[in-house]
Every structure is written in C-alpha cells, then in structure tokens.
C-alpha cells in the first residue's frame, strides 16, 4: 500500500512534467495549427542551461529563471523559422521544427557536450501518512497546477489570450479585425518555449537530460496532448497525469522495460479511436 502511494506520487510528478510539455504543444497548435516537434528540445535546452549556470556559480532561482528565459528565446527563434515566412503550410512547419530539433542537437553538443546533465533540486522530503514525498516532486506538482490555472485565465480572460483563440478558430477573420496572425503565432511559440523551459528546469533534477532526451519528452508530451485533441489544455493535463501514473506503476511493479511500449501504445489507441469519430471532410476543410 505504501509502495503504491509512492509510485502514485512519483507518477503524478513525472506526469506533470509531460503536462507542461503538452501545454506548450497545445499553445502553439491552438494558435498556428502547427505541431511543434521542437517542444521537447525547449525543455532540454532549459535543463542543460540551468545545470550549466549553476555550475558557473549562479545561485538557485536565478539560474532556473535565466534558463527558462533562454528556452523562451529559443521558442521565439523556432517560431521565426517555422512560421516567419509567409505561406508556409502547417505540414512544412512541422518538418522545419523537426529540422530545428536536429539543429539544436548540434548546438547543444557544441556548448554542453553529449553527456547527460542534472542538478540538485529541492533537498529533503516530507513524510505524510508514512510515505516519504520528495519536496522536488511537490514543487513540480504545485508549479504545474499554478501554470495551468494561469494558462486557463490567460486564454479565457485576457485580450491577448482571446486574440490567440481567434487566430486558431479562423485566421482570416482574425486578420480582418486587425489581429496580426503571424505576430500571435510567434508569441505562441515564445509561450511554448517558456512552458517547455519550466518543464525542463523542474524535471531535470528528477531525470538527467542529455541532448537526445527530447524525443522521449516530445513523444510523451504529444501523447498527453492528443488526449485533449491538441487544443484543450485541461484534457491534456488529465492525459499527462494518467500517462505518468501508468508508467510509474508499470516501472514499480517490475515492467520497467515496457514503459515505452505502454505509453506509446496508449497514445496510438487514443489517436485511432479519436480519428474514427472525426469525418475526413471536416478535417480537410480546416
């Protein structure tokens, strides 16, 4: 029973990391219709930068914030390449973000080397009902909850958030009423970088990252995001938590080797079931 609780808490923390990646995917996809393959890379960049800055002697807090800002700037640059040129279709943009992800490999190896890096998170743990919970896990969960509340408020209550949604539902109409769709798209990419960066600095103390960790992160993040059909952050959060807990339970009860199969299999099933409920005509019309 105590084991089960430990696995649950672990799974929730890991799931929150996926949820943050997924929220970045959702933010970019909502506004631009592009699936940003470089989303996992933002987290890797933030994790590597944070460990590098800490190693250079900057205090905790400053390093993490700086790392998130670096990831945000990376997001903006990715956006410039992916949607900056007029007339780039979402499918071309996906391939460009794929290229950006590979380009980042070169930069990351050049700057930080090809070995995994990590840094210490919050030390110590809290004992609750006989179960030890690491503070870092709680920090991840708390930050994710706050981030999702802020995102919901942003999309629902602010002018910019509503402009984002307008671009998503009808870019032409958005342009007609004076919204700069490309600028909104770029801001969405920056937001994606920010969210990916937050995920990166939170998750790196739990699982070391190296330049090619981004594939695991993006695939799990995408799996969570498809749960919310790539447009609804709330459902993506639910999907991410389910995924994290399922993986953690599988690992805990001796099926650690089959974590990947489990997560990806789940994603495939969800996608196929969803596609069966959508008509081709509607999808092509968008």
């Amino acid at each position: 029973m105590r084991e089960l609780l430990t696995y649950l808490v672990n799974g929730l923390a890991v799931g929150c990391g996926f949820a943050l990646i997924a929220s970045g995917l959702v933010a970019v996809h909502r506004v631009t219709g592009v699936v940003n393959f470089a989303q996992g890379m933002f987290a890797v960049v933030a994790g590597l930068s944070a460990s590098w800055l800490l190693g250079a002697g900057l205090p905790h807090g400053v390093s993490e914030v700086a790392a998130v800002l670096i990831a945000t700037a990376t997001g903006l640059l990715t956006g410039l390449l992916a949607i900056g040129k007029r007339g780039t279709t979402p499918q071309s943009s996906l391939i460009i973000t794929l290229g950006v992800g590979v380009l980042a490999y070169a930069v990351e190896i050049f700057v930080w080397g090809d070995q995994p890096r990590s840094f210490p998170g919050l030390p110590g743990s809290l004992t609750l009902a006989g179960v030890g919970i690491q503070w870092q896990h709680l920090l991840v969960v708390a930050t994710t909850v706050v981030t999702f509340l802020l995102l919901t408020a942003f999309f629902g209550r602010t002018y910019l958030g509503k402009a984002f949604s307008a671009c998503a539902s009808n870019p032409y109409a958005a342009r007609v009423i004076g919204i700069d769709v490309t600028k909104m798209g770029l801001l969405a990419f920056a937001l994606g970088g920010l969210l990916g960066g937050v995920a990166g600095v939170l998750v790196t103390p739990l699982r070391p990252v190296s330049f090619d960790t981004d594939v695991t992160l993006i695939v799990n993040g995408f799996a969570a995001a498809v749960f919310g059909a790539l447009t609804r952050p709330g459902l993506a959060l639910v999907g991410a938590l389910l995924l994290g807990v399922a993986e953690s339970l599988a690992a805990g009860y001796g099926y650690a080797a089959y974590q990947t199969e489990l997560a990806l299999g789940l994603m495939l099933i969800i996608m196929v079931v969803q596609s069966a409920r959508r008509a081709t005509v509607l999808e092509e019309a968008v």
Binding site: L94, I96, V102, S275
Partner: protein
C-alpha cells in the same frame, strides 16, 4: 513527369546507368562502403518520396521498416536459412508488417500519422532490445555473407552491384506505379481525400498499398544492410535515421523518382565530406556529430523554406514548367 522525361531522352538515363555499373570497379573499399550506403539510402528514400509526394502521407518511422528488413534477413541467416530466402523475406515481411499496422494507423493523417509512425519505430526498437530472438540490446552478431548456393559474395564490389540492382528494381517499380492508373489516383488523394473518394478512388486501399510498398523498399535495403554489415542491433536504426530519409526525400524533391536518388546522393556525400573535415587532425572530438547534425538541419530547413519542390525540380524546373504537368495523362 520523370517517367515521361526519361522515355523521351534515354541518353542521360543510360549514361547514369553506365557510370553506376562502372563505379564499383574503380572505387577502393572505403569509397565502396559509402557507395553501398548511398544506394541503400536511395532505396528507402524512393519509398519515402512516393509516400510523401504521391500519397501525401508523412512517415517518421521509415527506419522501423528498414529495421524489420534487417532483422528478418539476420534472424533467418543466423539460424542457417539460405541467404536468398532471407533477402526475399526482408521486403515481404516489412510490407506485411506495414500492411498490418497500416490498417489502424492510416486512419490518421498529417502530424498524427507522423507521430504514430515515430511511435511505431520507438516501440519496435524497444521490443528488439528486450526480446530473446532478436538478440536484445547487443543485437544479432555474425550474420553470414550473402550468397546463392555455392557462390558467395565476399568483396564489397559485389555488394555494391547487389545494392544498385536493388535500387534499379525499386526505381522501376516506382516508375510503373506512378505512371499507372493507381498512380494518378494517388496524386488525387494527396490533394484531397474527399474529392478522390467521390471520384471513385478506393482511398483507404491505395494508401495502404503505397505504405506497404514503401515499407518493402525499406525492408529490402535493410536486408542488404544486414548481410553487408554482418550484424544488426537496435542502435543501428535510430530515430535520426528516419529523419535522414525525410531530409533526403525533401532535398531531392518529393514525388520524383530521380530526385530521391539525387537527394540521397547529395546528403550522403555531403555528410561524408564533413566527416572527413570533422575527423581531420586538430578538430575536437565532437566535431563530426556537430557538423553532421548541423548540416542535416540547415539543409532541411533551407530546402523546405526556399526550394519547396526540392533540388532536382529546382534545377530542371524551367523545362518542366513549359511541359504540360502530367506526362502520363493520355493513358
């Protein structure tokens, strides 16, 4: 378009063929291995180009079919099966595998399909790393040389001939598919599945057939790879491999048979040249990987942004623009 152009002007095709046949005789062993890998990449890329350019489907998991082919040939050969059987089984098993997973997966399109195929490759690699009969993470070692009866392929030159014979078969099959009635139907469904379906194109069946065909090409290449290199392991088929094929297909020009070969050749030679630069004395140890990642990425981004139809059509584009778009329309 390419088919028509080639029929009207057989000379360039013949010249390319003659050079292809002459090269193995003059190249040394290290150059031959580049030549063989170039051919293998070209085989897979023709399939990717067909799938992306004609059927409009993005597969980020083409490396998975390459792996299926490699493991099929490897397992059969290690257990004493005749190598010919292994080489024939490689494309067949890859195609059957693609057809089986294609039934659910091809309901997806666009980025969903891209991620689904990527996921397939990750699942497959993870399974290959754990299962007993695939040799786990170490992989299959000591795959015997390819041979027919008593005749055994020992030197690299004979593998080069085998590889390029494979490329020729793949190109021929692709050209015939493109020029046929189903080929036109494929082009229609790439533009709009709804419109194609309402004109009577069996959309689902055709997509599945092209998917299986491109998998068969990759499987054949994987089979030759297994015999040439002598071992296969999960590490031989990284996700980056699938991305490389996309880069090659996009660079060459999607939906062009010759373009796929040109793209594979351009990228393979470029990366090889950079490898020479990167391993030159005085360069840091990370130079080769940094250079090759950077080049893949930059070439992909630049081509998608500025030469959306690829390198080959960009070079020959002016001529193609004056010709009617569809050379096979009369049939």
């Amino acid at each position: 378009m390419t088919g028509g152009a080639r029929m009207k002007r057989p000379l360039p095709g013949l010249a390319v063929g003659a050079v292809t046949l002459a090269l193995p005789a003059v190249l040394d062993d290290s150059a031959l291995s580049v030549y063989i890998f170039l051919g293998l990449a070209a085989m897979v890329t023709v399939g990717v180009s067909l799938l992306m350019g004609y059927a409009g489907q993005v597969s980020l998991g083409q490396g998975a079919f390459y792996a299926v082919g490699g493991y099929t040939a490897g397992i059969l050969a290690v257990h004493g099966g005749p190598p010919v059987l292994g080489l024939l089984a490689a494309p067949v098993v890859a195609a059957v595998f693609a057809a089986v997973i294609g039934v659910p997966l091809l309901r997806l399109r666009g980025h969903h399909l891209a991620f689904a195929t990527l996921a397939t490759q990750l699942i497959l690699l993870s399974l290959a790393g754990q299962l007993e009969f695939t040799g786990g993470d170490i992989g299959l070692q000591g795959i015997p040389r390819f041979g027919i009866g008593p005749f055994e392929l020992g030197d690299a030159a004979s593998y080069a001939y085998l590889t390029w014979a494979g490329v020729a078969v793949v190109m021929l099959v692709t050209r015939n598919v493109i020029d046929s009635r189903p080929g036109r139907a494929l082009r229609a469904l790439a533009t709009s599945e709804t419109a194609a379906a309402s004109s009577g194109v069996p959309v689902g069946r055709y997509k599945l057939v092209v998917f299986a065909l491109s998998a068969a090409f990759a499987g054949l290449a994987g089979g030759i790879y297994a015999f040439y290199v002598g071992y296969v392991a999960p590490g031989s088929f990284p996700v980056l491999l699938s991305i490389e094929y996309i880069v090659m297909a996009v660079v060459g020009g999607l939906g062009t048979v010759w373009g796929a070969v040109v793209g594979a050749a351009a990228i393979t030679l470029l990366v090889q040249a950079l490898n020479v630069v990167g391993t030159a004395p005085g360069m840091p140890s990370y130079a080769p990987s940094v250079l090759s990642y950077a080049v893949y990425a930059l070439v992909l981004i630049v081509v998608v942004l500025f030469l959306p139809h690829g390198l080959l059509p960009a070079v020959t584009g002016r001529r193609a623009a004056r010709r009617p778009r569809d050379a096979g329309a009369g049939r």
